[in-house]
């Protein structure tokens, strides 16, 4: 498109007082050759916006560069459909963070220049349109899956529900009683019948829901909005078109045969919590010992039977404490029976604390903390539970006639891909070992998200949880699945760039099929054809541009984001000829690092005048050519600010910052070729709440670069 750029400099928020706006305007007019340059004391106000709109209408301006505040604010005011809009954050990066008036002016000039270049290099995005369906596939017919199905169906979406068992209901079917719902204190009855049958009925009678029982997902092919899911049920296979997926495949109890030290498999009277449900259910609530059928009078519950133990399940299973408190009531229905709960810690989050308190008040429910070491034969037909570090004394044996092991939750995804994705990167969800096999992600920012766009996890397959939490989870995941189907249909990305209409558009003639992109894409969006040539499934793409950073041929670009665009911005940064004044380029991730800089600016913290900051979609989009180009132009150093990565990653694209770090380790070679010190380029992990550290981190880096000395390429 023929660009007609208009530059609008805001003089409000003390920009006009600290910067020579006239000089700025003259530079834009004379050296950047911008036809329309205007300023206003409140560009975001009605008058300012009208001014821009008027120019669009009457002056033919179609590319608007607003030199005012951060792009993270006022985006609703500065929304001009049909125009490219670029924001130059003079207020934050020049006025508020620069102390010296001269440096402030220089920074303002640089930032205007950089963003004008950016606008010149960009193009107007168009959405990626394809034929889509909005049908939601729910995998798992337990409480989570059924809730998701009902929620989505009630919101008007077609739902396909796949359940591996012959009937719906999941674990709730196996329970004798459940914990009642309560808003505050719990009162009798403390165990009630589950209403799972009603939910099953609601699902089976819902016209929007198609249920496949005794079924599994054989294959998931395609992409969000256009999945081809092969469902096999009772020997028949069927391919169903699916828009997005809720993964609610649930869990299974931990294999108790691995708990021989707790007597399982040794004594018949050692059972798991799930088995106890069966005993109660089959005997009308009476707890009968498996060995002799006598009613149990002294029942010991061993909490954390494998959980929070690095040799078994390293995590807390969240539901077993409440389950044992509930099952203790099965026992104490018999007025002369006692339930003894032996725990490491009782964990009853939220309102369940009241359930714990209610159990405490029952004289027949006895609880104590300690480490259970073994369960042995007492010699009189009963069992001895041995405990160490017990609150009852140093080492005790507790006599019980029945021992219940409160075994934990193993997610269905622990050893089964479930989805059977036909993706180059494999059939299951990647990197689940970070979450002990659960289909989880960094939960603060990414509830229900998985590393496969369009697949949202809910219930115990995501995290160990109880039934009411699972219902909440299922509702959330259903909403995410709906969003995903809708966004793909509208040709825009999903979280975290949920507004983004651009998509990767590679120049395939120059592709060498090196496959770096297929390997590095955090979302498995790139598959390969028979010849091994990569191709995109744009519906899977989250637009992080990691592929753009990975590509050695630099062929991946987005309409408003490409290698040349960012490279050109860097090339237009002023490099002071003075040896004492280094120039450093900071590449900051838009998700954490850049907002942290924004916050530091908002707090009027001062940032070293040596830096020029460029916002990236994700540090994963950093192409090494930028570093080579910038340094060969005389820039003294580059600082990459990205999200935390590793086990507790905060990267919004899961792998971006980690990949940037990995690539930087390879930059040595490039720098060596230029005979530059490797320390001139550094990556630092910065969380969004670490804004206080921004001036220090940047200041320290500038100091280090000063110590190294000026870039020898300066002035070439």
């Amino acid at each position: 498109m023929e660009k007609n750029i208009g530059l609008y400099i805001c003089t409000g928020c003390s920009i006009g007082d600290s910067i020579d706006v006239e000089k700025l305007g003259n530079i834009a007019k004379n050296s950047l050759k911008i036809p329309v340059v205007k300023s206003h004391f409140a560009m975001c106000g009605k008058e300012g916006v009208e001014l821009i709109k008027n120019d669009i209408k009457n002056e033919g301006v179609n590319t608007v560069v607003i030199a005012a505040c951060s792009p993270r604010i006022k985006y609703e005011e500065f929304d001009f459909p049909g125009c490219i809009v670029e924001r130059s954050p003079l207020r934050e990066l020049a006025v508020w963070t620069q102390e010296d008036p001269e440096e402030r002016q220089l920074a303002a000039e640089d930032y205007v220049k950089m963003h004008v270049i950016k606008a010149q290099k960009g193009d107007l995005p168009e959405p990626y349109m394809m034929e889509t369906v909005k049908t939601i596939l729910v995998i798992g017919g337990g409480i989570s899956g059924m809730t998701s199905a009902l929620q989505a169906a009630n919101a008007g979406y077609q739902v396909v529900l796949v359940e591996k068992e012959a009937q719906l209901g999941g674990f709730a079917n196996k329970l004798y009683k459940v914990v009642p719902a309560a808003m505050g204190e719990y009162s009798e009855p403390l165990i009630v019948d589950s209403d799972i049958a009603d939910t099953v009925k609601a699902v089976e009678s819902n016209q929007n829901i198609t249920v496949y029982k005794s079924a599994k997902v054989e294959k998931t092919d395609g992409q969000p909005g256009a999945y081809d899911v092969t469902i096999s049920s009772n020997g028949n296979s069927e391919v169903v078109k699916i828009g997005s997926i809720v993964l609610a495949a649930g869990w299974r109890p931990y294999d108790a045969t691995k708990l021989e030290h707790l007597g399982y498999g040794v004594s018949k009277d050692v059972v798991t919590n799930i088995e106890l449900e069966g005993i109660a259910k089959n005997n009308g609530g009476r707890i009968l010992r498996p060995s002799d059928g006598k009613e149990a009078k002294k029942v010991a519950f061993i909490q954390c039977a494998g959980q929070r133990d690095p040799n078994h399940l390293p995590y807390c299973s969240a539901m077993c404490c409440t389950t044992s408190l509930k099952q203790a009531r099965y026992v104490t229905q018999n007025s002369d029976a006692t339930a003894m709960i032996l725990y490491k810690d009782i964990r009853t989050p939220g309102r369940l604390e009241y359930y714990y308190k209610a159990a405490q008040n029952d004289p027949a429910v006895m609880m104590t903390k300690g480490d259970v070491t073994s369960v042995t034969d007492a010699g009189n037909g009963n069992l001895h539970v041995e405990m160490e570090n017990s609150l009852l004394g140093e080492k005790v044996k507790i006599e019980a006639d029945l021992v219940v092991l409160a075994t934990g939750v193993v997610p269905a995804t622990a050893d089964d891909p479930i989805l059977n994705l036909q993706y180059k990167q494999g059939p299951g969800l990647p990197d689940l070992e970070l979450f002990d096999g659960f289909a989880d992600s960094n939960f603060i920012c990414f509830q229900y998200e998985t590393r496969r766009t369009g697949v949202y996890a809910a219930g115990c397959v995501r995290q160990p949880m109880n039934m009411s939490e699972a219902q909440e989870d299922a509702t959330g995941a259903a909403l995410k699945a709906i969003q995903s189907a809708e966004h793909v249909a509208a040709g825009i990305a999903v979280h975290p760039r949920a507004w983004d209409m651009t998509y990767p558009d590679p120049f395939m003639q120059r592709c060498t099929s090196c496959k770096r992109c297929t390997e590095e894409c955090p979302f498995g969006a790139i598959d390969e054809d028979e010849k091994g040539t990569p191709f995109y499934k744009p519906g899977r793409c989250r637009r992080c541009a990691t592929c753009m950073g990975a590509c050695p041929e630099r062929i991946v670009s987005f309409k408003d984001y490409h290698v040349d665009m960012i490279g050109s911005m860097m090339k237009n940064v002023s490099v002071p000829s003075d040896d004492d004044k280094p120039r450093i380029i900071v590449l900051a991730c838009e998700n954490d690092a850049y907002p942290a800089i924004d916050t530091a600016a908002l707090k009027h913290m001062k940032i070293d005048s040596a830096v020029r900051i460029i916002q990236l979609r994700c540090l994963g989009s950093t192409n090494l050519v930028w570093i080579a180009d910038a340094l060969s132009r005389g820039v003294d150093g580059m600082l990459l600010l990205g999200c935390k990565f590793g086990e507790n990653y905060q990267c919004h694209f899961a792998k971006g910052s980690e990949l940037a770090d990995y690539r930087l380790s390879k930059v040595q070679e490039t720098l060596g070729r230029l005979q530059l010190e490797a320390e001139r380029v550094q990556m630092i992990q910065l969380a969004i709440d670490e804004y206080d550290n921004v001036p220090r981190i940047i200041g320290d880096f500038v100091e280090r670069v000063k110590e190294i000395g000026p870039n020898p390429f300066k002035g070439f």
């Binding site: 002294k298 002369d336 029976a337 006692t338 003894m340 308190k357 405490q360 008040n361 029952d362 004289p363 027949a364 429910v365 006895m366 609880m367 104590t368 903390k369 001895h384 609150l391 009852l392 004394g393 140093e394 080492k395 005790v396 044996k397 507790i398 006599e399």
Partner: protein, 377 residues
């Protein structure tokens, strides 16, 4: 420590709850109680572990546990308990069960401890003394137109009644002493069995003397915070009981050795002692009652077991003072007051090793034991 096998006794838990320890189950073992307790030994402090034993119905661990008696129910633990588990009240309930456990005649323990038997508690002495001191005779008895309680009798000869009274009280005292000795012996051997191979100090007499010193000085009470005031109330009560006992024996000596019978003149040293004791008694009981009500929010209201004991003690005082006043006013209703006074005194004496009064014996025993086994110095 030897490995213990635990087999909880649900009935014991229910007993504690029924005995005023209804908050027992709230304890979540944070141990704030042992931290704030000023009277516990530093090693294996109470009442945290006792709360656990109680929750788990570990009767053997509790009924013969010297620690439950080392507790003076300052109620600091109860005041600071974040969960409202009231360890002070729970230990009080456990002490009640301990008294029952070591009692020579469990029926007596039941009568004084079970609220449902309160009628029987009072019916026995009321009937007993009604037989020997019928109200009908009240109006006829005048000795030189003066009221004389000790001649108070159902029929001729006049001397019969005092003899029968003395016989009843004498036998009751023997019963009480036997009960107390049995209880002490059982408690001691129970504590010894519980303590296992704990080394004993050797000098039992010295331990008894040092315990007695602590008791008479009330120095343990001084460590209390919440029930600080009680130190003085209890001190006054103890000394008033001592004074009244001495004056009682003194009166017996007067009447048997010197044939000097009452009413005694107010100038008599024996009478002076008893009057002083009476004043101390009034002051003591007022302080104790005031403290109970004032601290009820922090320390709890106490149980039936406490209140029946306080009722008997207050009853003795009230009826005694009333009888004296009525005698001085020469109102013959004084005989009725005296009759009730005798009822209350008998209640105190007969149930001494079964009611809360038993703490005199058992706390002392526990204090001696604790010193003897170096649990306390």
């Amino acid at each position: 420590m030897a490995e213990q096998v635990i087999s909880p006794d649900l009935n014991f838990v229910k007993d504690i709850i029924a005995s005023g320890g209804e908050s027992l189950k709230k304890c979540y073992q944070c141990s704030t109680c042992t931290v704030v307790c000023n009277v516990t030994p530093d090693d294996k402090p109470f009442p945290r572990k006792e709360m656990m034993y109680a929750q788990w119905g570990m009767k053997d661990k509790l009924v013969s546990n010297p620690d439950i008696w080392l507790c003076h129910q300052c109620s600091d633990c109860t005041a600071y308990c974040p969960r409202g588990a009231k360890p002070g009240e729970v230990l009080n309930a456990v002490r009640k069960l301990s008294i029952r456990h070591v009692s020579m005649v469990p029926l007596f323990a039941r009568i004084v401890q079970d609220p449902k038997l309160i009628w029987l508690l009072f019916a026995i002495p009321i009937a007993l003394f009604f037989v020997f001191m019928p109200h009908k005779s009240l109006e006829f008895i005048r000795f030189d137109d003066k009221m004389v309680y000790h001649m108070f009798a159902p029929a001729e000869p006049h001397m019969y009644a005092p003899f029968v009274l003395k016989m009843i009280f004498g036998l009751t005292a023997v019963f009480s002493i036997l009960s107390a000795l049995t209880g002490i012996k059982r408690l001691w051997s129970g504590m010894k069995a519980q303590a296992g191979d704990v080394k004993s100090g050797g000098n039992l007499t010295g331990d008894i003397i040092s315990s007695a010193k602590t008791i008479f000085a009330h120095s343990k009470f001084a460590d209390c915070n919440v029930n600080r005031l009680r130190q003085w109330g209890h001190l006054l009560l103890v000394y008033s009981f001592v004074g009244l006992s001495i004056s009682g024996i003194w009166a017996l000596i007067y009447s048997y050795l010197f044939n000097f019978t009452g009413p005694y003149p107010f100038t008599d040293p024996m009478k002076l002692l008893s009057q002083a004791s009476m004043l101390a008694f009034i002051a003591g009981i007022v302080i104790i009652l005031y403290n109970r009500f004032a601290q009820a929010g922090k320390a709890g209201m106490g149980s039936y077991f406490d209140w029946i004991f306080l009722t008997i003690v207050s009853g003795i005082g009230a009826t005694g003072i009333l009888a004296l006043a009525l005698r001085l006013a020469n109102v013959s209703a004084g005989y009725a007051a005296f009759y009730l006074h005798v009822v209350f005194v008998w209640l105190l004496l007969a149930y001494a090793p079964y009611s809360k009064f038993a703490h005199l014996f058992y706390r002392t025993t526990a204090m001696v034991f604790a010193r003897h086994t170096n649990r306390e110095s």
